[in-house]
Amino acid sequence: MNKGIFSGIIAAAAIMLIGAIIITTSANVKNSSNEDFAGKILEIKKEWNNAGYLLDKTLADKLADSVDMTACTFTAPAPSEIDAYFRSTIGNSIKNCNFQDVQIDSSAQANFEIHFALICSKKISNEFEIKKFEKIVAFAKKVELIYIPAPESCTITITDLQSGIVEVQKTV
């Protein structure tokens, strides 16, 4: 047998071992970064859902606040007024979410509908990679006012037409 053949075999084994270490290490790193990525995406979607819920309730609040309780009349709010309420809610809660183009589809008292784009974003893995989740959201509400002259009272009921839930009910 040639001199050095054992050295060659040992060297080859050493190279294979080092290669195996590099492959397993990089596979583990990739695995954990994939888990991190999936977790962040899920987090964005959760925040988007929560932001949508908050804005849904904020709209009900704005509609209730648009009722003149002394005259018991409803004046449909302008998109800019809804925008201001939405901005305040988002500014005090999920700051990495935002909205665009609030548009009123129907401003009738019986059926108040709006739609807008809701966007949530988050930095992933490193500071330069930002993932966004964007979708158009539509809300539909019904405003009901019941005026009773004696004794004088005004009852306001805001119902969410998509879920059927009564969100605001107040009598003044």
Binding site: G4, I10, T58, D61, Y85
Partner: protein, 106 residues
């Protein structure tokens, strides 16, 4: 120089390299990896409980969690979710979002 000297040194270096490589691999696989897994599980549990608790109307205590991390805890994670009640407060004034924390810690 003795015959076979290079071969012997060569083999010794090879064996040393293999020994170091195997020791590294053994150390890598036997090291304690349970802590990061526990952190990840706690984080996941807090986040999932926050979502589930919020939509089911359950408090952190109902979900087996706290609303803050205990002062003596070594580590803890909180799932944060916001609620908004339009029926709160007087008419003509905007209500404010309320945050709810579902915290898991040891």
């Amino acid at each position: 120089m003795k015959k076979g000297f290079i071969f012997s040194i060569d083999a010794a270096i090879g064996i040393a390299v293999i020994f170091i490589a195997m020791s590294s691999m053994t150390f890598f696989y036997l090291q304690d990896s349970s802590s990061p897994k526990i952190f990840h599980a706690m984080d996941q549990n807090a986040s999932d409980s926050a979502t589930m608790g919020f939509y089911l109307g359950k408090s952190p205590a109902d979900m087996g969690l706290d609303n803050s991390i205990a002062s003596g805890a070594k580590q803890g994670f909180c799932g944060r979710i916001f609620d908004y009640n339009p029926d709160n407060g007087p008419l003509g004034t905007q209500s404010a979002p309320e945050d709810r924390n579902y915290c898991d810690g040891t």
